[in-house]
Symmetry: C3
Subunit: 108 residues, 3 copies
């Protein structure tokens, strides 16, 4: 989750590459001995996060003033699935419960 600004997105790509550079050499990343070459993507993913938990207030995602959710692709070539789940109460279950129990959203 960060600011939606093209310069910043470029900076994140460059920064992640400096922290965990792509390198198919299996002396650098042992995982690459399996025939894969995406060990760096696992590390970039670790820094950027696997899931976000976002509050919902009055039916809207309760972001900070500039926050947006981004999906970062560090490997490619794989079909991806985005899972969104909501935690909360349906008002019809117990009248008025929505105002007592806040709703939650989780995306992975």
């Amino acid at each position: 989750m960060n600011d939606d600004e093209s310069g910043l997105l470029h900076d994140f790509g460059k920064w992640l590459e400096s922290l965990a550079p792509f390198d198919p050499d299996s002396n650098h990343y042992h995982q690459n001995r399996t025939g894969e070459d995406n060990a760096d993507a696992q590390m970039k993913r670790q820094v950027m996060g696997r899931e976000v938990v976002i509050a919902i207030t009055k039916g809207k995602l309760d972001f900070g003033p500039w926050e947006q959710i981004f999906y970062g692709e560090f490997d490619g070539g794989w079909l991806k699935r985005v899972l969104v789940k909501l935690i909360g109460e349906k008002q019809k279950w117990i009248d008025g419960s929505t105002s007592l129990l806040d709703c939650w959203s989780l995306m992975q």
Copy 2:
């Protein structure tokens, strides 16, 4: 979330500066071409996390033995908002439900 020890807080500041140094030069961080100079703060924030999910047990935040929540300021000059939400059940809704469904707290 980490140990509340002044030396460690100093170490985190130094470590984050080494991972993502402040640099107003827009050749280093393209975001700075927008007139901002806080691209490094976005990266420090990425490492330190945007939100924490903390279990509540018997009405108290269920931390590890030395865990504390910290707010890290890497940019400054902006008014900030802390959002705390609870997930759980009020005992009066369904008697005894609190012991079945644990309560949750999320802070961003």
Copy 3:
């Protein structure tokens, strides 16, 4: 959370050591002036995450195709506690509610 592959686990250890090397020298990590020598472990933990939030679908942890949960030990010598909490509804509370409100699991 990452791929369960021994080469990758080796790569993560090496990568974390490069980001936050172990160093008992208290000039490097001020925390070590307290007599501890685990400041690096606090930083490794920060990168790897303290907790994971995992969706449950049809009674199973809803992972990606290769995802597994790992516990990383960067310090040692301490007794650890794993806390798992579930968020959801018991079907007997309100009939059919499980299909409306998804269940959640959080591990720290």
